[in-house]
């Protein structure tokens, strides 16, 4: 075999394990998610939004709506793939027990990423529900954001898993969150437009994977179409495969001595 640790369809079995666990607490999580989403929308969209002029004829609440969906996907995928995965890998020995069954590191990594993305997608879907209850959704195409967010979430989960495989304690994640995730959140155009900021900020923003998820989502959410869709989509997909591969290699190194 060329890649003895390569992922396969058995990743689904790993995903099922997480689902079985999830069954014991999902209602509480959904309630928490809904409350948090409404809080964000009201505080920023309407609270802060009162002081923000319409942007291209769009209310601030409508502007940040898709931004919030995208960032919910990122944050959820990131939490699950850092704190969650670290606990599974280093503290609870769950990865180790899976490696005593006929699974490969690739199966475990892919299963974990699909799980992180599934959970993130639920969070974003609840955000979409909140946004539509507030009458902010401009186009039915908004539903098409969800598969895009799934890919985005796999990408951030893979990035989170890379951090997890490098971490030697939970405190490493403080660094990861403040150095990577926070700047990504602020400079991807989720809460304010990047256009018109200093040119280096614009350039930086273009290089962030989150920016491309935001562009696609905002287009679909408000207008029902996306300019340069292929470019943004390829960017997301490219980084997803890159991070997935790196995550497999690094987790292998961590798990097999």
């Amino acid at each position: 075999m060329l890649f003895p640790q390569a992922p396969s369809h058995r990743a689904f079995r790993v995903w099922v394990r997480h689902l079985v666990y999830y069954r014991s607490f999902y209602l509480a999580e959904w309630a928490g998610n809904l409350g948090e989403h409404i809080l964000w929308l009201v505080a920023f969209g309407y609270g802060l939004g009162r002081f923000v002029p319409n942007l291209d004829g769009i209310s601030y609440a409508q502007f940040i709506g898709p931004g919030l969906m995208v960032s919910v996907a990122m944050w959820n995928a990131t939490y699950e793939s850092t704190y969650g995965a670290y606990s599974r890998m280093r503290i609870q020995n769950i990865y180790e027990s899976m490696l005593m069954a006929p699974l490969t590191v690739g199966d475990i990594v892919l299963g974990d990423l699909l799980w992180c993305a599934s959970r993130a997608l639920i969070g974003s879907t609840l955000m979409l529900v909140v946004l539509s209850l507030f009458g902010l959704v401009g186009s039915w195409w908004a539903v098409a954001i969800l598969p895009i967010l799934f890919i985005e979430a796999v990408m951030f989960a893979a990035l989170g898993l890379i951090a997890t495989s490098l971490a030697h304690s939970f405190s490493f994640f403080n660094f990861y969150f403040s150095a990577i995730v926070m700047p990504m959140f602020f400079f991807a155009g989720t809460l304010f437009p990047i256009k018109g900021l200093p040119i280096w900020v614009e350039r930086l923003s273009e290089a962030l994977p989150l920016t491309h998820a935001v562009r696609i989502s905002r287009g679909l959410f408000i207008y029902g179409h996306v300019e340069n869709f292929i470019w943004h989509f390829s960017f997301l997909l490219g980084f997803t495969f890159l991070f997935l591969t790196v995550a497999c290699v690094l987790v292998s190194r961590r798990m097999v001595e």
Partner: protein, 304 residues
């Protein structure tokens, strides 16, 4: 009969400068039970982890169930059950869910896995705990669940790393009882343990490991017979020089540990009479055991 279940030749593993496994060769036949004994840090766990690919060997060749571990460990694991030394039960799940999810890892069809789980819950006496959280189980129950989980796919070969360490006598006896039953059913077993007598009863062959190497290997009774003798006399209180000198003529080897004098005898002839003629009546006479051999080979100083 297809060759060996385990065929290891000169496998080695270093962690930095520490040679944890230093040239281990081991052949185990189908249906055989092999026990690895050794003090803490001897390299038992590392050897076992090499067998299922969790630790990669630096050199040597290693085949398990006829396949090369380096390239085919996934397929090997599909046919082998593993009970690790560390607790690797899934604490987020209940007893039943642990087994059900694990059955999924082996792609066991749903219906077959349900009957298998029922059977194993009974076999390991865990039925009334089926819906419990892992943290509510006693140490013995966790071990039993571990073993049940390792048996979920009816493996051909079972590996257990210290399956009875830390258990109370009742739990320990139940585990040994079940292992004997599995062996009688023809399962090939490799285990490590610190319980010498149980190993001697259960294992067809044992190997005593220290410093990453097997010091001896063979059937327990034969090894004890060859390397220690038949009988041991333990004498409390000191022994005078002239008493020690008087033992020269007898076929015994002696060892003094703190205030105890051990006499290891090969045929036992005349020793009783000799002791009594010296007025020593405060001795204990017993058969030589695996523990005598173990201590003889690995020394008596503490390891951790």
């Amino acid at each position: 009969m297809p060759g060996f279940v385990i065929d290891a030749r000169g496998i080695e593993k270093s962690f930095g400068t520490l040679k944890a496994v230093d040239g281990v060769s081991l052949q185990v036949k189908p249906g055989e039970c092999f026990g690895i004994l050794g003090p803490n840090g001897a390299g038992k766990t590392t050897t076992i982890k090499m067998l299922h690919g969790a630790v990669e060997s630096d050199s040597g060749t290693l085949r398990v169930l006829g396949r090369d571990v380096a390239t085919q460990s996934r397929l090997i694991r599909a046919q082998m059950g593993i009970v690790s030394q560390e607790d690797t039960l899934d604490r987020d799940l209940t007893v039943y869910e642990n087994l059900w999810v694990y059955a999924g890892f082996f792609s066991i069809p749903k219906k077959a896995s349900l009957t298998r789980i029922e059977y194993l819950l009974d076999f390991m006496q865990l039925r009334e705990k089926w819906d419990s959280q892992i943290k509510t189980l006693s140490g013995g129950m966790k071990r039993r669940l571990h073993i049940a989980r390792a048996l979920i796919h009816e493996p051909k070969f079972l590996i257990l790393d210290e399956p009875t360490t830390g258990l109370d006598p009742q739990a320990r006896h139940l585990v040994w009882q079940r292992l004997r039953e599995l062996k009688a059913q023809g399962l090939t077993i490799l285990l490590t343990t610190h319980y010498m007598e149980e190993a001697a009863q259960m294992c067809d062959r044992i190997g005593i490991m220290d410093g990453g190497k097997f010091l001896v290997e063979g059937p327990p009774q034969t090894l004890v017979q060859e390397k220690v003798g038949d009988e041991v006399y333990e004498l409390k209180g000191g022994a005078s020089i002239e008493f020690l000198d008087s033992l020269q003529g007898l076929s015994v080897t002696t060892e003094i540990v703190a205030d105890i004098l051990y006499l290891y005898s090969r045929n036992g002839m005349g020793i009783m009479e000799h002791l009594i003629s010296f007025g020593r009546k405060d001795f204990l006479r017993r058969p030589a055991t695996l523990e005598d051999l173990f201590l003889k080979l690995t020394g008596r100083e503490l390891r951790d």
